[in-house]
């Protein structure tokens, strides 16, 4: 046996230290209990464009229909076009908690409302919906906002009045809307080519957030604003704005921006399809290489969930400033590493992938960091 070089020994020591260090440390909660739902469980399609947890049920929007999962029994009920769903591709879901209505963004099919077992349908040919290629939907009080490829539309569900927002009446440099979210009195639109637009419901005033360097091919400074003008999602929680893009993600607390890239954080990939924020300190990102959760933004502490593509095993890697501080191996977590959609509800998380849905059960969840022993290298399991 040849002598190992000093750098190799140091690297080995670092790996051992990272994976099985003794003693307690300030660590985030790691989801180790996961359930998966695929076509075998009754989903109409496994490409999960949208997921929305609503109390005892989980609504699932797929490339081939709508489904709802009973959390208690795990039973799946689904709807396709044969069952009255106006169009098969469900790209966004939101719930009006006042009425119980389920609102659906249909990718190429407009907007639908599911209520009382009936689907109602709005398109650009029969309503004020500006385009049928709808990427997202959000309920704001009595209004329903739809992010479409040709602007945003707002339906007042009481009066039936539609309002269309394009470059003519909103600060959209481009009108290619992607995501829409309502929270804390503000509607946020993530717009491909136009950053994030914020609509203050109380004042009806717009504010825009753009990449300050104005260049497509670089990010001049990490923390000077939105990391890129092509945005895919925006969430506003605890008066903190979280933004996902195909170039990285970022956070804005009203005073300071912070960008996160794969090169400097635990974000699994810079290609982010969507996000869901749990708080001003925690947000989950749907990347093409796994689910990334910044669990403590202040300390740049992340947990990245991925599955081993060659087996039914998964793992969670805890990092701080990119350095691995814990690796937790587990049973199957995500059905696939290509993550498309995300939701957070109570202690649980829901991860929509291109091969099924994962439900992370957050028994014992705690926010932020807590002093705890590092977990054993293999825990839990993927229950089906």
């Amino acid at each position: 046996m040849k002598h190992a070089s000093l750098p190799a020994l140091l690297l080995l020591a670092a790996i051992c230290h990272a994976q099985q260090p003794p003693g307690n440390a300030k660590l985030p909660f790691v989801y180790t209990r996961w359930k998966q739902f695929t076509k075998a469980d009754g989903l109409p399609n496994e490409h999960i464009f949208a997921v929305k947890s609503d109390g005892p049920r989980i609504w699932v929007g797929t490339e081939g229909g709508l489904a709802v999962i009973d959390k208690k029994t795990g039973k799946v009920k689904s709807w396709t076009e044969k069952d009255g769903l106006p169009w098969r591709v469900v790209s966004g879901i939101d719930i009006n908690h006042k009425t119980g209505e389920v609102w659906l963004a249909l990718f190429g099919g407009g907007l639908a409302r599911f209520s009382g077992g009936r689907f109602d349908h709005w398109t650009q040919m029969n309503s004020g919906l500006v385009n049928d290629v709808a990427y997202g939907v959000a309920v704001e009080n009595d209004n329903v906002w739809v992010a479409t490829t040709a602007g945003a539309s707002r339906l007042n569900t009481v009066s039936g009045e539609w309002t269309v927002f394009t470059e003519k009446n909103a600060p959209m440099e481009e009108i290619w809307n992607y995501g829409v979210h309502y929270g804390d009195g503000k509607v946020h639109l993530a717009v491909w080519g136009s950053g994030v637009l914020e609509f203050d419901v109380a004042t009806s005033r717009w504010k825009d957030y753009l990449d300050p360097d104005g260049e497509m091919e670089i990010d001049l400074y990490r923390d000077d604003g939105i990391v890129h003008v092509i945005t895919t999602g925006a969430d506003y929680v605890d008066k903190v704005l979280w933004v996902s893009t195909y170039f990285g993600v970022c956070r804005y607390d009203g005073r300071n921006w912070r960008g996160f890239y794969n090169q400097d954080s635990g974000l699994p990939s810079d290609f982010n399809n969507n996000l869901r924020a749990r708080s001003g300190n925690e947000a989950w990102f749907a990347t093409d290489k796994g689910a990334g959760a910044v669990m403590d933004a202040a300390s740049n502490t992340w947990v990245a969930y991925t599955r081993d593509p060659r087996s039914s095993a998964g793992k969670a890697v805890v990092t701080r400033d990119k350095a691995v501080i814990e690796t937790v191996e587990m049973g199957l977590n995500l059905p696939h590493n290509y993550v498309v959609s995300m939701d957070v509800d109570g202690n649980d998380v829901f991860v929509g992938t291109s091969k099924g849905l994962a439900w992370g059960i957050g028994d014992g969840y705690y926010a932020g960091l807590k002093e705890r022993p590092r977990q054993l290298s293999r825990v839990g399991g993927g229950a089906r």
Binding site: F49, R88, V89, S91, F107, G108, Q124, V130, N131, D132, V133, Y135, T148, T149, A150, G151, E174, I175, W176, Y178, W192, G193, D213, E215, M216, E217, I218, D219, L220, Y221, R222, V227, H228, I230, Y246, F247, G248, G259, Y261, Q263, S269, D270, F271, D288, K289, R307, P309, R310, H336, N337, Y338, S354, K355
Partner: protein
């Protein structure tokens, strides 16, 4: 030695394949890509040896944005990969034809850009003819080689009104499924199209939109078979400033996205070279009277004027400039290289220089063969939109024939192509973002014809193109 002997028949077969080489590709590069794809499990991402570049778009150091600052991050250097499960989809057995989508402006309609009549049908129809010829030739050679069934072109008009491009791509992805799509021309519509293509996971090959931002989106489902306005802009700037030493350049352009983004690299590069554009004026597409803009331009006393817009407006601007006594050299975009421009401009067209994405005067038997076939089929001469569509469609046909009926694998073959596509418009080497990085040219109109000139032929200087990433090299110093 033995291995070399075994490869010989395959190499000979590859060499003997008729042009265009859309049939079975036995090159080691393509075989290796397919081997890697097919060896990967259903949840695995194959190691496709992603392209890694050290400089974006051949940009010289003195025109890089914020050249005095080391950026935190550079995008577009490492190739995007598709990490989804699409490669595991089995090839369907019940198809009668292999459908390829085409979307382009082919019917007159209302235009958002003009607020009236649309304006790009002449270009779109040529694009369609180029695509049709490629499909028909492929079918004459037996169609989809694996099954011997024909290719079928699914043609839709790119109306563009109220985002209809998105609706059409949704239809091609889900309702009348196609395996890949060629289109379109309008840059706003192109962005709408690729947003759908990305979600539906289908490759879009673009052969007519020269907007630099089209491929600056970091998504793995787009490619382009035409040199863009960034490359043409760099060449024009190098000619105007580095060679001709013009100090005061003015711009007049259309107010639509084509004009807005077309001049962006010219404007930025001129400023970074210390010759900021003295004035930039915009006009509405379809305008006929440019006196307001030209009076302002004249007051700025430019050494040269750059126009970016359609052929008709380009000619009218030029004519009205000359009428006002403005005799500055006139530079335009590639759309002016057309009979419409020269017909309207008449004698004023003499000396006009345009950026151009290829050299139609190139001596190439395949180009001659294409021209003959096009004339036979359509009773007219092919032009640039037809030629680029022909190349773009042939790349798709090559990918389908070799990858099989699987959208992800079709994407993979185009994305990982190691050698430039031998197009009739010239070699098409794809960059990390799958943009056509082939040579662009300057077209000059003299003696009733356009002639095409390379950078080398005109001895146009260029700045230093770095071989290391910005984040890994010394700053050149604040300009």
């Amino acid at each position: 030695m033995r291995r070399a002997v075994l490869w010989m028949p395959l190499l000979l077969c590859a060499q003997q394949q008729p042009y265009p080489p859309i049939g079975p590709d036995h090159s080691p590069d393509t075989r290796e890509v397919l081997r890697r794809i097919n060896a990967a499990g259903p949840n695995e991402v194959p190691d496709l040896r992603l392209k890694q570049e050290h400089n974006y778009a051949g940009t010289s150091t003195d025109v890089e944005p914020y050249g005095g600052v080391k950026p935190y991050k550079e995008h577009f250097l490492k190739q995007m990969e598709y990490t989804g499960p699409g490669r595991a989809e089995p090839e369907p057995v019940d198809v009668k034809t292999v459908r390829i989508g085409f979307i382009g402006p082919i019917q007159s309609t209302v235009s958002i850009a003009t607020g009236g009549k649309s304006h790009e049908e002449a270009l779109g129809r040529k694009m369609l003819e180029g695509a049709q010829l490629a499909i028909e030739q492929a079918n004459a050679r037996g169609g989809y080689v694996k099954r011997g069934i024909p290719f079928e072109l699914d043609v839709v008009n790119d109306n563009g009104l109220w985002g209809s491009t998105g609706n059409e791509v949704v239809s091609m992805a889900y309702k009348r499924p196609v395996w890949a799509i060629l289109g379109t021309i309008d840059s706003a519509n192109s962005h709408i199209a690729i947003r759908v293509a990305l979600k539906a996971e289908i490759l879009m090959m673009n052969s007519g939109d020269t907007d630099p931002t089209f491929i600056e989106t970091n998504i793995p489902w787009t490619a382009r078979s035409i040199g863009d306005d960034r490359q043409q802009g760099y060449l024009l700037v190098d000619y105007m400033i580095r060679k001709q030493n013009y100090r005061r350049i003015a711009i007049i352009r259309s107010s639509n996205r084509y004009g807005r983004f077309g001049v962006r690299e010219i404007r930025d590069s001129a400023r970074r070279l210390g010759r900021p554009i003295v004035m930039e004026m915009a006009y509405k597409v379809g305008s006929s009277d440019f006196s307001l803009q030209l009076e302002r331009l004249r007051e700025a006393s430019p050494d040269a004027v750059v126009h970016w817009g359609d052929a008709r407006e380009s000619a009218l601007v030029l004519n009205q400039m000359r009428k006002l006594g403005m005799n500055q050299p006139y530079f335009t975009s590639d759309r002016s290289v057309s009979p419409e421009f020269t017909g309207l401009a008449g004698a004023n067209a003499a000396g006009v220089i345009s950026g151009y994405p290829w050299n139609p005067d190139r001596k190439d038997p395949h180009l001659d063969q294409f021209r003959r076939a096009f004339r036979t089929r359509f009773k007219e001469e092919p032009e640039t939109f037809a030629a680029h569509a022909y190349d773009g469609m042939n790349i798709l046909l090559w990918a389908v024939n070799n990858a099989g009926l699987n959208r992800a694998k079709i994407r993979d073959l185009v994305a990982t192509r190691a050698k430039p596509w031998p197009g009739i418009t010239g070699d098409i080497p794809f960059s990390s973002v799958l943009d056509d990085m082939g040579d662009v040219f300057l077209a000059r109109f003299d003696k009733d014809r356009w002639t095409y000139h390379s950078r080398e032929e005109l001895q146009i200087p260029r700045g230093s193109v770095p071989t290391r990433e910005r984040v890994n090299r010394q700053l050149e110093g604040v300009k």
